[in-house]
Amino acid sequence: MHIVVSIKQVPDSAQIRVHPVTNTIMRQGVPTIINPYDLFALEEALRLRDAYGGEVTVLTMGPPMAEDCLRKALGYGADRAVLLTDRYFAGSDTLATSFALSQAIAKIGEMFGPPDVVFTGKQTIDGDTAQVGPGIAKRLDLFQLTYVAKIASIDLAAREITVERRCEGGTQKLKSRLPCLITMLEGTNEMRRGSIEDALCAARSRIVKWSAAEAGIEDLTKCGLRGSPTVVKRVFAPTPRSQKAVQIDTAEKTLRDLADELIGAIFTRQPALEPELAFEAA
C-alpha cells in the first residue's frame, strides 16, 4: 500500500509574540515544529503501513528550511520525503496550496506508485482553516473522509475502507473506497518514538526536492499569490475594551460576605438571571 502524508512546518505558536507597539509578529527565534495535528495523520499512516505493508511518503510545501520537518517525519519511520519548494508558491492561500500539493501528489503517484490513501491533519495551528485536505481530495478526485477518529477496516482487494468519523453530535460510520483522502482527528493515536535505525536513516536520507516545474506544474498562474482568490488586506490587533472589570473589594471581609456581595453584583447587573437560576437549580 502506498500512503502519502501531507504535513506542514509551522511556528510553535505558543511562542509567538506580537510586538506591543507595532502590532507585528515577532518571528525571530520562534522554533518550528511539525503541525501537531499532522502527527496524528503520520502515526496513522505508519500504522497502516505496518499492518498492510507498503510505503509512507511524506510531502510538504514550504521554504527550504521545511526540510527539518521532513527529517523529523523520516525519524518517526516514514520511508520517503518530498519537499515542494519554489518562490512561485509564496503567498499561497488554501486554494493555491491544495493545487500545488495535489500536483505534487500526482507526480509522486507517477514516480513511486499511485497512493491508496492520502492523509492530512485535521487543520494547521497557524492557518486553522481545515480547507487544504478537502481541497486536495476534490482536485485528485479522492473520496473525502474528514475528522476520522478511527480506521475500522481496509480491504485492499476490494478497495474498500470503513471509518468512524466525528460529526456534529456523534460519530458516523462510513464505508467508502480507495483511493481516499483522510483528515485525521486529534487525540486518536499517539506518535511513536522513532527507532534508532529510523533516526540514522533520517539523517542519511536524501530528501527529494522539487521546484514547481519538477513537480510537473505547468500553470504557474494557479500558484502562490497569483493563484490565490483570497487577499489579506489588513492585519490588526483586537481593540482592547475600554472598561476594566469592576473589582469587588476584598479587604477585611469573610469569604461568605464576599460571595454574597459578588452574587448581589451579578444579579444587579442581570436581574432576569435570578429567577432563571433559581428555576434551574430547583
Binding site: L95, Q131, C167, G170, K175, F236, K244, I248, R269, L277
Partner: protein, 369 residues
C-alpha cells in the same frame, strides 16, 4: 502589514484598493446565501445565526437573502424551509432527495455546487461545524473561489466586496480577507460567534426547488451507522445560558470538582481553558476558546483563568463575565465585567454555598413577595 493604530491612515480596502474590475463572468452573481445545515431532522442553530448576519449584509448590498436547504423529502426539510423564513430569509433554494438524508460529502457538494452554478450568489455563508467545513472546502475548490474560515466579523465595503475578518497568528491578531475577483465570496463562521437573531413567525415565501442530478448508486460512500454522543452536556456547552469554567489557577485536577459543583448548584454548564485539556484533566469538548467552543452565555464565571487572547475570543460574547483570579493584573480583568482578586480554591466553596442559600426555595419565596 498595516497596524490598527488610528493615526496611520488605512489603505483603501476592498476593490477600491486594488483598482481591479470584477471579471465579466461574475457580474451577474447576486444575493446573499446561507447554507442551512440540517442533520438528523434538526437545523443547526449556527444557520440561524448566519441568517442574522446575512440579513445585515443583504440589506447593505440591497439584495435578497436566501437559505439553501438540502435534505431528504419530508417534514424535517419542510420545517427547515419554514425556519429559514422565520429567521429572515427572503427566499429558499431547496434540494430535496432521499440521498441527502445523512450528510455525505459527495451528494452535498454536488447539490451545493449545482445550486451555485445555476443561481449565482455573490456571497455564500456556512457554519464552521464539522459538516460545514467538510462541505465548504470541497465546494470552494470545485468552484475555484475564495473561502475564509472561522470569521468573527463580516461586513461589506462601499464597493460591495465582502470583508471577512478572522483571527490569525494563533489569535493574537485579526486579519481582514477579501475574495475580490471570484464569486461567490465564501466564508464560514463558528457557532455562537454571531448573535442569535429574533425569530418571527412568517409565511413561507418563494421556494425554488432544484433537482439533484445524482442517483444513490453513483455515490460510493455509504453511511453504515451513527452513534450519538453519550454525554449530552457537552453538546450544550456552546448554547448554555450560564457557564462556569476553570483554568490552571485551580492548581490540580481534584479542584475541578469545585467548578462542577458550582455549575450544578446554578444549573450551568462547565468548561475549561486549553491547558486543562492538554493535561487530560478535562475532555477536549469542554475547552472554551479559539480552538475550543465559542460561548455566548448570559453569565460566564471564570476561575483561575488568565484570560489569554485565545480564551478571550471564545467568551467575549457573554453578557456578563465574572473573573476570579489571584493576580490583580491578570489580562482577564481587562475584559471581564466583574472581578474578584482572591484564591478561587478557597472562594468557590463559599460561592457555591452562597448561591445555594440565595436560590433556595425559601429565599425564592421572599423574592416573589
Amino acid at each position: 502589514m498595516s497596524s490598527a493604530n488610528p493615526e496611520t491612515p488605512r489603505p483603501p480596502a476592498g476593490r477600491a484598493g486594488m483598482k481591479k474590475e470584477l471579471p465579466e463572468r461574475f457580474r451577474d452573481y447576486r444575493h446573499v446565501w446561507v447554507f442551512i445545515e440540517l442533520e438528523r431532522g434538526q437545523v443547526h442553530p449556527v444557520s440561524f445565526e448566519l441568517l442574522g448576519e446575512g440579513r445585515k449584509l443583504a440589506d447593505k448590498l440591497g439584495v435578497q437573502l436566501a437559505g439553501a436547504v438540502l435534505g431528504p423529502p419530508g417534514e424535517a426539510t419542510q420545517n427547515a424551509v419554514a425556519e429559514a423564513f422565520a429567521y429572515g430569509a427572503d427566499l429558499v433554494y431547496l434540494v430535496e432527495a432521499p440521498l441527502l438524508a445523512d450528510y455525505r460529502n459527495e451528494p452535498f457538494a454536488k447539490a451545493m455546487t449545482d445550486l451555485v452554478d445555476t443561481y449565482k450568489p455573490e456571497i455564500l455563508l456556512l457554519g464552521a461545524t464539522t459538516l460545514g467545513r467538510d462541505l465548504a472546502g470541497s465546494v470552494a475548490t470545485t468552484l475555484l473561489t475564495g473561502l475564509t474560515a472561522d470569521c468573527t466579523e463580516l461586513d461589506v465595503d462601499a464597493d460591495g466586496s465582502l470583508a471577512a475578518t478572522r483571527p490569525t497568528f494563533g489569535g493574537s491578531l485579526l486579519c481582514t480577507i477579501y475574495t475580490l475577483n471570484y464569486r461567490p465570496q465564501m466564508a464560514t463562521v463558528r457557532p455562537r460567534v454571531m448573535p442569535m437573531p429574533q425569530r418571527a413567525d412568517r409565511a413561507i415565501g418563494r421556494v425554488i426547488a432544484h433537482k439533484l442530478s445524482l442517483a444513490e448508486d453513483e455515490i460510493v460512500t455509504k453511511v453504515l451507522g451513527f452513534l450519538p454522543d453519550s454525554q449530552s452536556g457537552t453538546a450544550n456547552l456552546a448554547y448554555a445560558d450560564v457557564v462556569v469554567a476553570g483554568g490552571l489557577g485551580l492548581g490540580g485536577a481534584e479542584n475541578l470538582q469545585l467548578v462542577k459543583s458550582l455549575a450544578r448548584a446554578i444549573g450551568a454548564e462547565f468548561g475549561c481553558s486549553r491547558p486543562l485539556v492538554q493535561k487530560g484533566w478535562m475532555p477536549a469538548d469542554r475547552q472554551i476558546g479559539q480552538t475550543g467552543k465559542t460561548i455566548r452565555p448570559k453569565l460566564y464565571i471564570a476561575a483561575g483563568i488568565s484570560g489569554a487572547i485565545q480564551h478571550r475570543v471564545g467568551v467575549e460574547g457573554a453578557d456578563l463575565i465574572v473573573a476570579i483570579n489571584t493576580d490583580p493584573n491578570a489580562p482577564i480583568f481587562d475584559f471581564a465585567h466583574l472581578g474578584i482578586v482572591t484564591d478561587a480554591v478557597r472562594f468557590l466553596p463559599a460561592l457555591i454555598e452562597a448561591f445555594t442559600r440565595r436560590l433556595s426555595p425559601h429565599s425564592r419565596d421572599k423574592l416573589a413577595s
